[in-house]
């Protein structure tokens, strides 16, 4: 598992180590420059002192300046190139005629050589460069050692500082852990570092949305239980009447009513299931293309007997472009609910039109009837679950039909609007699908109005 603390510690220490290394390199370079300047000056001084006194002969073994690797080597020639003096016989220095400073590379590494001409002699003083490097390196090391000694203390300090900085996260985690699934109150947002505030804010936002959803769900379950009681009560009573029946005719009538009651209860349960299935976020809307005109024809064919029984003129009028993206089943339910409602509320001999049109690239489905319509002040509320209008024509539905329509429409990103129906009377429900599929056009002509019944 990744740990912020460990990562911070590793990267911070790595950074500090790199900085220390960079400081060391820098110190080394500067120390070497300084050593160069110093030793060059020294070489020059020494050459000057040697040229002051003429050499006749130099006793062997004399002239060794210093010892070890940084020992200087002095060489003196006369004009004719005859070596007069060599401080360290074992060292072989090339006879360098070039005056001034030069750097020579030899078998034992680079040497710094200074040659000066004085009187009849050439004085040449050489020193190995390694001497200078060693000096610079030891200077650099001296600067670095205290820094390296502090490093463990820094590590410990970082470790504890990070722990302190992360404490509010632990507090938030504990507060979340203490929460029960039903208690969705916001977490305290006071005394939080700026870095943790957005996390807690987002959590609180989620909690409030969750609480809202949970509340709505609870209300729905309570409403659903209550609504189920009504058809169940009817079935219960009808069963008792069937039990009491003394003649066959009475029993047959009672059983017929019982069957109606069961059908009604079944329908309500189916509608509740549809609502639950079409709940936002339960499942994705299938991205398939669906031909609304074909669905509308199916629905009309299914409901034609119902319309026929009431002498209602039910028909479809569709134009081009009735393809929408979505699920065939929910969209069929949507159309079916609208047409079924229209037939139910339209008095005998009335008319119900299903119209599919293309409006500025949107597919628009309209179901219009010649029924009593819905008062303007009720139009918003009819989409609420279990809301029933004030006994329109004595017809009492489950109060779920339009709620289901709205929910399916929302899932398909379609708008639902209520207006007036045929000839300014009745109800007209318009569903506008704002997501047309380009390039898929349904070849249906404007004039192809089908009439059933």
């Amino acid at each position: 598992m990744r740990s912020i603390r460990r990562e911070l510690l590793v990267w911070l220490l790595l950074g500090i180590a790199l900085a220390v290394a960079a400081a060391m390199v820098g110190t080394y370079w500067r120390a070497r420059d300084e050593a160069n300047a110093l030793f060059d000056y020294q070489l020059k001084e020494m050459a000057a002192s040697l040229t002051d006194a003429p050499f006749a002969a130099v006793p062997a073994g004399a002239g060794t300046i210093g010892a070890g690797s940084d020992a200087m080597v002095v060489q003196i020639w006369d004009r004719n190139g005859v070596q007069l003096f060599l401080s360290q016989p074992r060292r072989v220095l090339p006879q360098n005629a070039q005056l001034g400073f030069t750097t020579l590379s030899t078998e034992s590494g680079p040497w710094r050589v200074f040659s000066a001409l004085a009187a009849e002699q050439v004085v040449q003083i050489a020193q190995p460069m390694s001497a200078r490097r060693e000096l610079a390196a030891s200077m650099a090391l001296r600067t670095i050692i205290p820094l390296l000694a502090v490093l463990p203390f820094l590590a410990v300090l970082i470790w504890f500082t990070i722990a302190r900085g992360l404490k509010p996260l632990d507090r938030v985690a504990a507060a979340v852990a203490r929460r029960s699934p039903t208690l969705l109150e916001p977490l305290p947002e006071t005394d939080l570092p700026r870095e943790v505030q957005p996390l807690v804010g987002a959590l609180n936002d989620l909690l409030s949305r969750l609480s809202h959803t949970l509340h709505a769900q609870r209300a729905f379950v309570a409403d659903a239980a209550h609504e189920l009681r009504t058809p169940l009560t009817a079935v219960h009573l009808q069963a008792q009447l069937a039990e009491r029946a003394t003649t066959d005719a009475e029993r047959a009538a009672a059983l017929g009513e019982l069957k109606d009651g069961l059908e009604r209860a079944t329908r309500l349960v189916e509608q509740l299931l549809t609502l639950a299935r079409e709940e936002p976020g339960v499942s994705e809307v299938p991205p398939a293309s669906v031909d609304l005109a074909a669905l509308a024809r199916e629905v009309i064919a299914d409901l034609a007997p119902l319309a026929g029984a009431k002498g209602i003129d039910l028909g479809l009028s569709s134009t081009a472009a009735s393809m929408v993206k979505g699920g065939a089943d929910p969209l069929r339910t949507l159309i079916s609910n609208l047409v079924d409602n229209a037939i139910r509320y339209t008095p005998t001999g009335g008319r119900v039109d299903v119209v599919l049109a293309d409006d500025a690239g949107s597919v628009v489905l309209t179901v219009r009837d010649s029924g009593p319509g819905i008062a303007v002040e009720d139009r918003e509320r009819v989409f609420d679950r279990f809301y029933r209008g004030n006994g329109a024509g004595g017809i009492r539905g489950s109060g779920l039909g339009l709620a289901i329509v709205k929910q399916i429409a929302e899932r398909h990103r379609a708008d639902v609007e209520l207006g007036t129906g045929i000839d300014g009377r009745g109800l007209g429900v318009t569903v506008r699908f704002t997501q047309p599929i380009p390039g898929s056009r349904c070849r249906e002509e404007l004039s192809s109005t089908q009439k059933i019944v």
Partner: protein, 226 residues
């Protein structure tokens, strides 16, 4: 016993009306709160079966208005909400009893009979008068322990008269007890039933107070001497 049923669900309303009618009740059914108030204003019902979720005017509103107006008739609430708070609200608004949906028809009838008994100030479920015993639950009538067969209307008429011995009930009052809105009443129906009752139970049980109505005399009242 005539009952006003206020229930907006067609299936439940029809079933309750049929079931209670089979139990000998006369049932009038209304489907919304306003219609219930209009029916209550007629003052012909002995008890009210009230659904709380009525359209146009809720059951609780109807009940409160009833009690504010001094109407003391027994009210039995039918509710689909079984939360204690809902039941308490109903009882506190003036209801005498409640049933929670789904309920049993026989229980509903028994509760109505109990409400009626309390309404007329009795505790004994058997309505006894001299040698006559009436059991509203089983619809049995006995004279000196011997069962006598009465029609549903005859039974209801006798029950109305025996409920308050000494009180004179007019023809209109008796008709109101026997017939619901949907029943057609023949002009001399009450007389026909009283005639039948006299034949089965004895001529001097039900007395005619001329021009006013009928009554059964209190047992301790002095018997009219010929």
């Amino acid at each position: 016993m005539r009952v006003l049923l206020a229930e907006d669900d067609a299936m439940i309303g029809a079933s309750v009306r049929r079931g209670l009618s089979q139990d000998g009740f006369t049932v009038d059914w209304v489907e919304d709160g306003r219609a219930a108030e209009l029916a209550l204003a007629e003052r012909v019902h002995d008890a009210v079966l009230l659904d709380l979720g009525l359209p146009r005017k809720s059951g609780l509103e109807v009940l409160s208005a009833m009690r504010r107006g001094g109407d003391t008739r027994p009210v039995l609430i039918m509710t689909a909400r079984d939360a204690i708070a809902d039941r308490v609200a109903g009882l506190d608004a003036g209801a005498d009893d409640y049933v929670v949906k789904p309920f049993d028809l026989t229980e509903l009838a028994a509760r109505l009979r109990a409400l009626w008994r309390r309404g007329v100030g009795r505790a004994d479920p058997i309505l006894a008068f001299g040698v006559i015993e009436l059991d509203p639950a089983s619809h049995e009538t006995r004279v000196r322990g011997q069962p006598v067969s009465l029609s549903a209307r005859e039974f209801a008429l006798l029950q109305a008269l025996l409920a308050r011995p000494g009180a004179v009930l007019s023809r209109a009052q008796l008709e109101a007890k026997l017939y619901g809105w949907s029943d057609s009443v023949e002009s001399n129906a009450v007389e026909v039933h009283i005639h039948a009752l006299r034949k089965k139970l004895g001529a001097d049980l039900i007395r005619n107070v001329r021009g006013v109505g009928w009554m059964v005399a209190k047992p301790d009242a002095p018997q009219a001497t010929s």
